[in-house]
Assembly symmetry: C2
Homo-oligomer: 403 residues x 2
């Protein structure tokens, strides 16, 4: 029933408590759904209402507090005793008068935690400015500390089981990329390609199913390739246009992102040249990945490799990733960019995505990788090149749509 052995959850909890002790946090209020899942096993699309996992430094199990209708899901999906699952009544939901943090503050008082040092995730999507105000008001004897990313940093090194889940996600990512490419021609619409991609992402393989990715597939086309985060339209693909496909396979909430650029018809020389420069840059950077190297050295290697061709890239080149929920599969900890002195260790996992967005066109090509004991493991094995698409439907496809 649980996605990991109960011992693994307990080890994660121990590591979290060590970080709490180091940061002087006695009670940690976790609102990030990935951090909740990581420590408790809880997995449901209920994070659109307030919910929380409470880790108390001198208590053996966390406490889950959420909406009444979600409590049986929490009992079924977590390793904790049922008594550690608590629920607030429905009148707290999206109300002018009541706020779930009032309920949570009362519980904290009742169990004797109202006067402790409480860590909160201040820079986290599901912990609102209002949540923090209510907690501060209702717990006047507590002292609050910013504990953003405390658990995220614990997550940065993956267990072998987590790596195995990411390898499965990688298999799904490759299938989804193939499915998307199959319908990139002038007889299909952008939404048809996106539908094919989603179908494969969710169906998974014959052996295991897929999960929803934390970000939907991005599919900018034509001039829109100059900007990275547009999704898709219902326009037909056009000859001589490029299409950027950025997607992630997902298995049990673990991601493997993959981006490629396709071109419908014959690409221009400059696009072709750009693809070669990016592929060479990726090769060079991957060749120096190993434990002991700092992330900023990867950025330096990229710069060295591409500057000679006149390519300058201001934005970061990648980030740590793995377990996550919408709206982002990145872990918000280490970034592959100038000044990031995080040292690579075995079983760190990153998405390296040196996207190039120019005035009227762009190119993305990415790789997800794991740091091994001595070097690098690539999660996917996909041609590192500009993918040339025939403008016409292949004769063995009835309609460009998966069958």
């Amino acid at each position: 029933m649980l996605d990991f052995d109960i011992l693994e959850y307990q080890q994660r909890l121990e590591k979290t408590k060590i970080s709490m002790a180091n940061q002087g946090v006695e009670v940690l209020l976790i609102t990030d759904p990935a951090n909740m899942n990581y420590l408790s096993g809880y997995d449901a699309w209920s994070f659109y209402v307030h919910q929380m996992l409470i880790v108390i430094i001198d208590e053996p199990q966390p406490i889950w507090i959420g909406r009444y209708m979600d409590a049986s899901g929490a009992k079924a999906k977590t390793w904790m005793y049922d008594e550690n699952v608590m629920a607030y009544p429905d009148f707290y939901v999206q109300s002018d008068e009541y706020h779930p943090m009032q309920f949570i503050a009362e519980i904290l008082e009742q169990i004797g935690q109202g006067n402790r040092v409480i860590g909160v995730e201040k820079e986290q999507y599901y912990f609102t400015a209002k949540s923090y105000e209510v907690l501060k008001e209702k717990l006047p004897n507590a002292s609050f500390k910013d504990a953003s990313l405390l658990v995220n940093w614990v997550r940065i090194i993956k267990s072998s089981q987590e790596i195995e889940y990411m390898r499965r996600a990688a298999q799904i990512a490759e299938r989804a990329m193939n499915a998307g490419l199959k319908s990139i021609h002038t007889s299909a619409r952008e939404c048809d390609a996106a539908a094919n991609i989603f179908f494969e992402l969710v169906r998974g393989t014959e052996e295991y199913g897929g999960d929803y990715p934390a970000i939907v597939p991005m599919l900018p086309t034509g001039e829109n390739t100059s900007t990275p985060h547009l999704t898709w339209s219902d326009q037909y693909f056009k000859e001589d246009n490029s299409v950027i496909i950025e997607l992630a396979g997902c298995y049990k909430r673990y991601h493997c992102p993959l981006a490629r650029t396709a071109h419908i018809g014959q690409p221009s020389e400059k696009l072709d040249r750009l693809a070669g420069i990016v592929a060479e840059g990726i090769d060079n950077v991957m060749s120096i990945v190993k434990p002991g190297v700092a992330l900023e050295e990867l950025e330096h290697e990229w710069r060295k490799s591409t500057r000679k061709y006149g390519i300058e890239k201001e934005s970061r080149l990648g980030y740590s990733m793995g377990l996550n929920y919408p709206p982002d599969w990145g872990e918000h900890t280490a970034s592959i960019r100038r000044g990031d002195q995080t040292i690579l260790e075995p079983n760190m996992t990153f998405h390296f995505i040196p996207g190039i967005w120019l005035d009227y066109y762009g190119l993305e090509m990415s790789e997800s990788f794991r740091v091994t004991e001595s070097g690098v493991e690539m999660f996917t094995d996909y041609p590192r090149e500009l993918l040339i698409q025939s403008p016409y439907q292949l004769p063995n496809d009835s309609n460009g749509i998966i069958s």
Copy 2:
């Protein structure tokens, strides 16, 4: 290029300014992606980094501020002048040292807004506790007001164009429900049904494509039907199990949710009876929908209709919905529940979802509707009953998967 006529965006802006004036807000900082889209047209999956739309009560156009790489998308996707699109450099992204709200505060100072009454969306996913702290610190002469839901309340009455988009979303919802049911039998896995649903949601119809819904399809099965927000697994469906399908069609970010419960094989008498009670309750409630009725009266009608059968439901029965982004398609304004005195007006739109979650089983059946000048328009036309599924694959389906 724009999804609505420029005049419609300007009317929305005017209504927003009237609300601002009523609430004493001079500068409104909008972080809710649906509110940003509603007022500017901006649509991209970039809300996982900080971005903002600034409405100044005495300026004719809003200002968009976001990440550098997203600015060309904002120029392409909004109705404002390009000068009103501003961007922060990439080193502000997910950094220990820098926060995008520092940049935004500087802009506000520079354009002379640093000493005004500033409204912020305190109870909103993408406005973090940290964002608020940084703004308060960097704008010491401003006075801050909670303006959560200010724009959401403007959104509650839809234009005829918005209604048309929701009708399209409804067509997509029906197709997706059909596709899901097609693979609910003992030779298919939950992920296969979810894949079919996603495929139809995104492909849309021959005339128009689908968009990603703000919540993924929910697919609790068996005992998990006692809790509403679990997604899917890769287990095969089992005979004598129920499956709840809750999904939404989406067109240009406008939603039409639809929920039904299927049963594989012969349902128990009590489940069958429960479905009849819920269907009768929905009929009764829908029959009294018209302008001038308060939402709490709908709840009262439901209670009257179902209490005689021994059904008690604590949680709310529905909510206003339309335009949205993950993690929720609800608008967080009016709810169909006890005590909500919002009065129905023409072109309000709701999802009525009286889910019943009991100890070991549950049932969901829902309707999305629009209040008309004299009554109600149902968005979908789907059998209001428990859907009985054969445990065996139909002979004309090769594998339970869409072809």
